[in-house]
């Protein structure tokens, strides 16, 4: 069967009558006005959110290529949304919600178990804020990644949103599609699980 994409291309290049061509021209012209945001606002918003979003997707999926794709798709979908209020925090949460749903759809479509995050090959020793050497930091990264890999995808999502993005329980509930009360208890359990694993790996000293 011909793929949908290819059918679309075929239609784009077929011959149309004059009236049809005019109709298409009008509809395509109107597409310019579909986005609620103008280019400058989008650029500002994108600069603020793109890296955190990529990081969230990469650390919860464990796949940098998938994170690249989903970041783009998330913004494409985000731009088509009509917001009642142009509040930056609200829009950011909405963007993360789109990304979370896309990630789950990906796993559902592929009928895959979400894989555990893996450290990228050839990545440099991380430059983090403590005073350890590059090698120590690199080992710590590997240990944290390993511990994260033992968590469920939803736990990884919640922990990342709470402790990296600084989202409130209500905001996390909106992003992951749970009740606020459930987020509170699940987050508490996930945090305990991660802390326990990190201590077992001898990373207890990282705290503060």
């Amino acid at each position: 069967m011909e793929p949908k994409e290819s059918r679309g291309k075929r239609l784009m290049f077929k011959e149309f009558t004059y009236t049809e061509a005019q109709q298409i021209e009008r509809a395509v012209g109107a597409a310019d006005e579909i986005f609620q945001m103008d280019e400058q606002s989008f650029r500002t918003f994108y600069e603020r959110t793109a890296r955190p979003l990529w990081s969230y997707l990469y650390r919860t999926s464990g796949n940098s290529t998938l994170a690249d794709d989903l970041v783009q798709e998330s913004y494409f979908r985000f731009l088509r949304v009509r917001f009642r209020e142009m509040d930056q925090e609200y829009m950011k949460n909405y963007l993360f919600r789109i990304a979370t749903n896309l990630l789950r759809d990906h796993w559902r479509r592929a009928k895959l178990e979400p894989p555990a995050p893996v450290e990228r090959e050839g990545s440099e020793p991380p430059q983090i804020r403590d005073s350890g050497t590059g090698e120590q930091n690199f080992q710590m990264q590997a240990d944290v990644t390993h511990a994260m890999g033992k968590l469920k995808p939803r736990e990884r999502e919640m922990l990342w949103l709470a402790y990296v993005e600084g989202s409130s329980h209500r905001e996390i509930a909106e992003v992951v599609g749970l009740r606020e009360q459930s987020v509170r208890s699940l987050l508490f359990r996930a945090r305990g699980k991660l802390a326990k694993m990190l201590r077992r790996q001898g990373l207890g000293g990282v705290s503060a």
Binding site: F16, A50, D130, Y163, G166, L187, A208
Partner: protein, 181 residues
């Protein structure tokens, strides 16, 4: 298990995110179990974020904007051409239904027509199988076709043509209706 919470958790999270720890907060984290867990988890995750800030391959904002516009235009074109595709498919379906309908309706005439050309066809196939080109067999085959065609023309051609014109008109009317919508 009831979540153990501390009122200073938010301060600990903020300190882990910004890296700005004060002595008082450090002392609190050393004593408070809940804040100890929060600090450990938050520090570990934020160290990953620090790496990603450097390593993330993010496309340029202008490129993203341009691609989003292109995709929305393509989607708009796809929406507009949907009625045209619908009528295309409808006309194919009508054509197939018409052919099947005529075959069922005029089955007796078709069977008679096939019977009239069969002797010629048999002669043709036997000539081919024996690898002798029999000019007489070919002539009889063509004559059979012409004769049966003439019979069909006399009896049914007018009806078939009417049906065909009717179907074309129906398809055209459907197309006009859909494109108006």
């Amino acid at each position: 298990m009831k979540p153990r919470e501390c009122e200073k958790e938010m301060l600990v999270i903020e300190a882990a995110r910004s890296g700005a720890w004060d002595a008082e907060l450090r002392a609190h984290v050393a004593q408070c179990e809940a804040c100890g867990d929060v600090a450990l988890a938050a520090n570990a995750l934020n160290s990953m974020r620090a790496v990603d800030q450097v390593e993330a391959r993010i496309p340029d904002a202008g490129l993203m904007w341009w691609k989003a516009q292109l995709l929305s235009k393509r989607a708009a074109a796809e929406r507009v051409t949907r009625p045209i595709r619908f009528v295309e498919h409808l006309s194919y379906a009508c054509g197939i239904v018409a052919v099947v309908g005529v075959c069922v309706w005029q089955w007796a005439a078709i069977r008679g027509w096939f019977a009239s050309i069969m002797p010629g066809a048999r002669a043709h196939s036997s000539a081919m199988s024996s690898l002798h080109f029999d000019l007489h067999g070919l002539q009889s085959l063509i004559a059979g076709w012409i004769q049966s065609g003439a019979v069909l023309q006399r009896s049914n051609l007018a009806v078939i043509l009417s049906m065909g014109v009717l179907l074309i008109l129906v398809a055209f009317a459907a197309y006009l209706t859909r494109s108006e919508e």
